[in-house]
């Protein structure tokens, strides 16, 4: 009977829903519920195999002493089975018999793994939050509507520079904001959060306890329960330094934009693919496009292919070799307008010092260029005229001086001469000198006329008609010299020339050709005219004496230069016609061979 009772008792134990085990005084497992055995992964109880509780709770120290004390206690322990760790909590209570004698221990074990894990997760989250607050310097605050209690976290207090013990009210918190805009704004947002359930996120200024003005970013979010705001939670972050830095960046940007836009230059920045990534006003005005039409475009989208190709090659050169192009003169044709630029391209580096594009600047120098060209033209004309003036001055001084010197000398003789016959001779000489002076003055006057009356209008003249006219006037002179003339000038050849000058040019060249004829052959003069690049070319060739140009080349058109022994050679004709031709914008050249002949080429400038 006793045995049956015992079996029943143990069988009952086996079925207990809570994991329960019975230990004898020595800690040997006597019996256990199935759930207990399952926790520890033990087989059903076998009398022969004695399981010690100590072998199951290996990590617990002094367990046997504790069991000996005969008091209740509990402990947490871990059990690793099949690579899985379970957290367990076991309750130990003394096991009494009917006489209240301790006969062993009752153990009840709970699997508390999920609680432990949750706790760990919570701790982890708390940790993360703390780290986040610490790293991001973002504090939080919380306002309970019902209790009107405002809570600030440590960081929030730090931001306000208040001690940790400080507990603000909502009104005090609002009063920390700078009076005026910040305070008004935050009051309104706080109110709206409560009344309209609106969240907010804004940058405002607070005045800390120490009186420092600082930028903060404050957020607030209402928590709603049953359609009613119960709580407002928010964050606060000190963004003073960022805000100042941002403002400084903005100011710099403003300065730079104003500067770049106001420069009297076309400025652009290109990326490595030569796409424009920045253009200033000047560049936009020049290209007649808005900035957004230019950003991302390359020169191939804006200019002729050839121009764009050259520009791209320059860009590559600058970006590859990092050698800037400074002040290169360039010509750009756009919309039929030619612009001269002084362009510079310099490599553009990123913050790591790596080239990331280039900065281009172009200065429009068209007007300067035009002025420079005008100036060059003027300088050329001036220096030419100056040269002419100097040589003319020398001629004048020499020729006039020689006559006046003769006067002085002859008058000196006359003064001391007593012999009437000799005096008469001297007076004849004086008359001669006077005539010479008059002639020289006449010649000089002609030259001055040519050079000063530039207003002498050029007319379109028929070249052949004018030649025929001059030849007619010279006919007696030509006949006397048995001159043959071949006139190849076309009927309709027209030249732009001052009529008197054309006659003078033809007369001088033809009469020269006859004057300096060869004694061995009758003069033969060939006259040709043709159109050339430099204008109408009139050339007059003879078969006369010719002249050694190597020796006299630079003197042939000089005043009073003669090269042959002829009484009527005055050295004035060629000098005069050269002046006349040049005054009309033309030119004259000569080719000659001694004892073969001479050819004079006259180019008439066709411009009026």
């Amino acid at each position: 009977m006793k045995a049956v009772e015992r079996v029943d008792q143990f069988y009952l134990l086996k079925q207990l829903p809570k994991a329960t085990a019975l230990l004898c005084k020595e800690g040997v497992l006597l019996d256990a519920s199935c759930s207990w055995l399952e926790i520890f992964g033990l087989p059903p109880i076998n009398k022969k195999q004695k399981t010690q509780i100590f072998s199951l709770l290996t990590e617990v120290e002094n367990l046997s002493e504790k069991l000996q004390e005969g008091k209740s206690f509990n402990l947490q322990h871990k059990l690793t089975r099949n690579n899985e760790t379970r957290h367990l909590k076991s309750y130990f209570a003394p096991w009494f018999d009917e006489k209240e004698n301790v006969i062993g221990t009752i153990v009840q074990t709970d699997d508390i793994t999920s609680e432990i894990e949750k706790e760990e997760e919570l701790n982890w989250l708390k940790n993360i939050l703390e780290t986040k607050v610490a790293v991001s310097k973002t504090g939080w605050w919380e306002y309970e509507i019902d209790t009107e209690k405002l809570t600030w976290c440590k960081e929030t207090k730090r931001i306000h520079q208040v001690p940790d013990c400080y507990e603000p009210t909502a009104i005090e918190a609002i009063e920390f904001f700078k009076p005026g805009y910040s305070q008004n704004k935050v009051s309104m947002l706080f109110h709206k959060a409560m009344a309209n359930h609106q969240s907010y996120d804004i940058k405002l200024t607070i005045v800390t306890l120490n009186g420092e003005e600082r930028w903060v970013r404050i957020t607030g979010k209402p928590f709603i329960k049953d359609g009613r705001v119960v709580k407002i939670f928010g964050t606060i972050k000190d963004i003073h330094n960022q805000e100042l830095a941002e403002q400084r960046v903005k100011e710099h940007q403003q300065l730079l934009t104003t500067l770049v836009d106001s420069l009297p230059l076309n400025v652009y920045v290109k990326d490595l693919e030569s796409r424009k990534i920045l253009v200033n006003k000047g560049e936009c005005t020049y290209l007649r496009k808005r900035p957004e039409e230019l950003i991302g475009k390359t020169d191939f989208d804006l200019y002729d292919r050839e121009v764009a190709q050259i520009s791209r090659e320059e860009d590559i050169q600058v970006m590859k070799h990092l050698t800037p192009i400074i002040g290169k003169e360039a010509v750009s044709n756009l919309n039929g307008k030619t612009t001269h630029f002084l362009t510079s391209k310099i490599p553009y580096f990123d913050l790591q010092g790596k080239v990331c594009g280039l900065i281009g600047m172009s200065l429009d120098i068209s007007s300067m260029k035009k002025k420079q060209e005008e100036l060059c033209g003027l300088i050329k004309i001036t220096s030419m005229q100056n040269q002419k003036l100097i040589s003319f001055a020398h001629i004048v001084s020499h020729n006039l001086r020689s006559h006046s010197a003769n006067f002085s000398m002859l008058l000196g003789f006359l003064n001391s001469e007593k012999d009437p016959q000799e005096r008469k001779r001297i007076i004849d000489m004086l008359t001669q000198a006077s005539d010479n002076l008059l002639e020289t003055l006449g010649n000089l006057n002609q030259v001055v006329d040519v050079n000063t009356k530039t207003s002498e209008t050029k007319k379109s003249l028929n070249l052949r008609k004018n030649i025929t006219g001059v030849l007619h006037n010279l006919s007696a002179f030509l006949e006397n010299n048995h001159t043959q003339i071949i006139n190849n000038v076309g009927e309709n050849m027209e030249v732009k020339c001052v009529p008197a000058y054309l006659d003078s040019i033809i007369l001088n060249l033809v009469s020269n050709a006859v004057k300096y004829k060869s004694p061995d052959r009758p003069p033969l003069i060939t006259i040709n005219a043709m159109k050339s690049k430099k204008g109408i070319l009139l050339s007059i060739s003879d078969n006369g004496l010719g002249i050694d140009l190597d020796k006299y080349g630079d003197k042939i058109f000089g005043m009073y230069k003669t090269f042959h022994n002829r009484e009527d050679a005055k050295g004035f004709g060629l000098y005069l016609i050269k002046n006349q031709i040049e005054a009309m914008g033309g030119s004259i050249t000569v080719q000659s061979e001694v004892d073969k002949g001479t050819t004079f080429n006259v180019y008439f400038n066709e411009e009026s």
């Binding site: 020499h398 000489m429 022994n565």
Partner: protein, 141 residues
């Protein structure tokens, strides 16, 4: 009259201006005693005569009056050619010009340094032929 008449064997006057030639000849009458005065209209004529005299061993002119601006061959070219003739006799050359061009004076100084003869520079007008022009250095004093 205490002017010393200098005896000169031969004088060349090279000038294309007949009035100047007349003047020089007239002035010479009172200072030089010369049987052989030759007139040339340009440097070429004078050079040809000079070369011929050298070839034939005829007397070389002791004094030459030389104009600068002349046709065909001017005074400078004549000087160049004459230096090339390497005449050993003593010759006094008076360059006579109406030019007041500083360039002519500079050219003269250049020639003076490399010319083996006495080379004077005389600006027109001339009123008197100095003993110096005839090669008499201290004769008058």
């Amino acid at each position: 009259m205490c002017i010393l008449m200098k005896k000169v064997s031969c004088i060349f006057i090279v000038d294309d201006d007949p009035i100047t030639v007349f003047g020089i000849k007239k002035m010479l009458k009172s200072v030089a005693d010369c049987e052989d005065i030759q007139i040339f209209q340009n440097g070429k004529e004078a050079y040809d005569a000079l070369a011929e005299r050298q070839n034939l061993g005829k007397p070389i002119p002791e004094v030459i009056f030389l104009d600068i601006n002349m046709p065909i061959m001017d005074g400078w070219d004549f000087l160049d050619e004459m230096i090339n003739l390497n005449i050993n006799e003593h010759v006094v050359i008076n360059m006579i010009t109406s030019s007041i061009d500083p360039l002519d004076y500079k050219k003269w100084s250049g020639f003076k340094d490399r010319c083996p003869y006495v080379l004077n520079f005389k600006n027109k007008p001339i009123f008197k032929i100095e003993p110096n022009d005839l090669g008499c250095i201290t004769a008058a004093s």
